[in-house]
């Protein structure tokens, strides 16, 4: 059985199947992550957001388990993506002088490696911003909202999170439908539905994540940032706020039991 599994995972279809499964798992994570982040908009103080972060922390070992599972999915998905991309490059070393299309190639399906790499770079920054901002232990739930707001109120922070959100949007534009097809789901009756669902998911999640840098950059004072406590703080001072925060953090980062 193990050799059977090994042969499967060593095959092109096996690798793509695992990429699809982990990719769909990551989409589920993104949905949960965005839902958690949206609590930031629930009030102007960040209290709901802090309560949500605290709830995650209270999961204790359960949260560790979820984080490890999430990390495993990320690592598998990314490693397989780079491996299959390298194989694809090897499969055609001489390029066409003229690159044509019969209408099926588009931005999302032709740029999965690029958008995926951007998301990976963003992910590293994002984890350093929040999940590991206080070392291995997760940051305190009550300081998280101001951290997020302060990070996104800065120009560089907003730009990074905007780019990350847009990359997620484009990446997901192809991801859902492609994953389902790799898993064998295709039916003439449902192709349009699958396509629309994938596009809808990409737009909803992408715009959801993009909304944080846009809204928090425009009006940080309304969402429990430092500015909310002392509305007169100079912008320069705001930017120097030690903690960086992003909307995406809460699921992975804030939740863990301290110590």
């Amino acid at each position: 059985m193990s050799s059977r599994l090994g042969a499967f995972l060593g095959s092109s279809i096996g690798k793509k199947t695992l990429m699809s499964l982990t990719g769909l798992g990551l989409v589920v994570f993104l949905i949960a992550h965005l839902a958690g982040n949206l609590t930031l908009y629930a009030d102007g103080t960040g209290e709901t957001y802090a309560a949500y972060a605290q709830k995650l922390k209270d999961l204790g070992p359960g949260l560790w388990f979820m984080e490890l599972g999430l990390a495993a999915m990320f690592v598998a998905h990314i490693a397989l993506a780079f491996r299959t991309s390298m194989e694809n490059r090897e499969a055609r070393k001489s390029r066409y002088r003229v690159r044509g299309t019969k209408g099926e190639a588009n931005l999302p399906n032709s740029s999965m490696l690029i958008t995926g790499t951007v998301v990976l770079v963003f992910l590293v920054i994002h984890l350093l911003d929040f999940r590991f901002s206080e070392g291995l232990a997760p940051p305190h739930a009550d300081v998280l909202a101001p951290k997020v707001v302060d990070r996104l109120a800065s120009f560089t922070g907003a730009a990074i999170y905007l780019i990350g959100g847009v990359a997620v949007l484009i990446h997901l534009g192809h991801a859902f439908r492609s994953a389902l097809r790799t898993l064998g789901v295709h039916h003439p009756q449902y192709e349009n539905l699958i396509k629309r669902t994938g596009t809808g998911l990409a737009v909803a999640l992408g715009l959801g994540f993009v909304s944080f840098p846009v809204i928090l950059f425009a009006s940080p004072d309304n969402y429990g940032g430092r500015g909310a406590e002392s509305a007169q703080v100079a912008p320069a001072e705001q930017e120097q706020a030690p903690a960086s925060g992003s909307p995406t953090v809460p699921t992975a980062a804030p939740a863990r039991e301290e110590g």
Binding site: S12, N88, A91, G100, T101, K102, S110, T182
Partner: protein
Amino acid sequence: MIATNGKDTIGLTLNVWRQAGPDAEGAFETYHLNSVSTHMSFLEMLDVLNEQLLAEGREPVAFDHDCREGICGSCGVVLNGQAHGPDRDTTVCQLHMRRFHDGDTITIEPFRAEAFPVVKDLVVDRSAFDRIIGVGGFVSARTGAAPDANAIPVPKEEADLAMDAASCIGCGACVASCPNAAAMLFVSAKVSHLGRLPQGAPERDERVVAMVQAMDGEGFGNCTNVGECEAACPKGISVGNIARLNRDFVRATIRRR
């Protein structure tokens, strides 16, 4: 009569990939044709080019062709980045020069993939497909004498879908047009064609595993579901076959003895 710009002849500039042999360095050469009949097929236009080259004492352009009726799978080049040219469901032998305009420049390249090494000019070695077929693209059960018609009932829908898959002529346009040089559409067509019919069903699991292993071994790329293969396929083979291949492969991995 359809004519381009009201004329029956057009002038063209051709950038053609020339490569003396498998190990030779290739390069583009530019040729001008002054009066190409719009009623010619694309391959006939290449014939005219070769006549001109021979008259000038130069080496003619090598290209694959056989039936020139769109059913044998021999021909295939990439025109301006599109395998078999701009039309859907059309082999390059069935592409007509009326599709082009006077003064057009056409870049003609061979199918490019490591698994399809160039033999000469526009001719590529597609024997990788033959080797994939050789490991399972057939029915090996001894069936005795030909059975009576309709002795083996096949549901109409299955027969239609099997025939759709069987219309694959193995030209390799799917590989040429795939951004990853993957051969999934070809393999999926063969696996679906045989697996859907009662005669091929008993060997369905062994066949799919063997053919996918052979496909991977030939150095084709991985499928990223872009769909350019379906668009370039002169026989309109559906990517639904690829989904079916994926299902079959997983199922065979689990239940194969």
